[in-house]
Symmetry: C2
Subunit: 203 residues, 2 copies
Amino acid sequence: MRLYDGGKAPNPRRVRIFLAEKGIEVPLEPVDMNQLGHKSEAIKRLNPLQRLPVLVLDDGTAVSESVAICRYFEELHPEPPLMGVDAQDKAVVEMWQRRIEMHLLLLIANVFRHAHPAMAEWEVPQIKEFSEANRPKVLASLEWLNEELADRPFMAGERYTIADITAMIALDFMKPSRIELPSHLVHLNRWYDSVKARPSADA
Amino acid sequence: MRLYDGGKAPNPRRVRIFLAEKGIEVPLEPVDMNQLGHKSEAIKRLNPLQRLPVLVLDDGTAVSESVAICRYFEELHPEPPLMGVDAQDKAVVEMWQRRIEMHLLLLIANVFRHAHPAMAEWEVPQIKEFSEANRPKVLASLEWLNEELADRPFMAGERYTIADITAMIALDFMKPSRIELPSHLVHLNRWYDSVKARPSADA
């Protein structure tokens, strides 16, 4: 088994943090995304979408999509649980995971990809108006999540889960997207400090 | 338990088709989205994002996000399996599910939401250029999926899964988005005919 990794980009980090929380070590195959290593023929054979990370199993099966890779490890190594413990909890964790993906991470990615010069060859055409249209939506989502966190420690409830990983990655991604985390969102800031303080955050 | 349902819209259909494939009956609470029923205070209390469907469990827990609702039923009623049978299969199904969500359904939704007059109050601002920019991406994804289906019956392999439900919903959603399915994509057309012929397609 080996994990074709993509360094600092959000999705490779999601999987490495997940593995660190699980205490699982997987041999990494570094791919330099700055050198467009993910656009190589070798990666294209593993993932026609040419995105990272990709987990290659011992039988040659290539699994891409970060959350699919996480699912594989969650099934094999349920402890500590990061995707829920029973039907109801799994559903609630998946709900939060998806809310944060679609209503936070995706919006931040839209701001970034449609404006940042480094994305000009990747996001064609870049539409600046679309980038700008996503900014107030990001801020609205941050306000909403701040309210949600007023009465619980983590995104999906009392336990740290994959939804916290996705949300932390999203907030980290605000920096290159030039979106500031408003300081008046005290619950969200408290939560962000707490997840950033976990050893896994540096994975 | 009751499912707040939203009629013909893509996400409510995804869940109803999933339930039909499982043979599970859940009491439905119809919400008229044409009358903006999903924008009511009652729905907002269940889902601050004001989207449907929402599953309310007997203890009052509200689960939104279609795939989270499906996950709940998959965990309680594993047969027939629609989200994979073991760690590797679950990962592969989730990979396909997510590929189709992000690289097909989302692109079609972008075409629709940023151009259709009915979406003018929902998608603010509508950016016609963004709608148009997504059209060639949809067609590229259709070409890719056609190749993938050349040597297998279903999106994720030999078995019908949630990835087929999402893909069928996506292709159905092309009609109001005014995107035609090219007839030369013979494998994709064969697959589409086969999933549309299942009784669940009318759910």
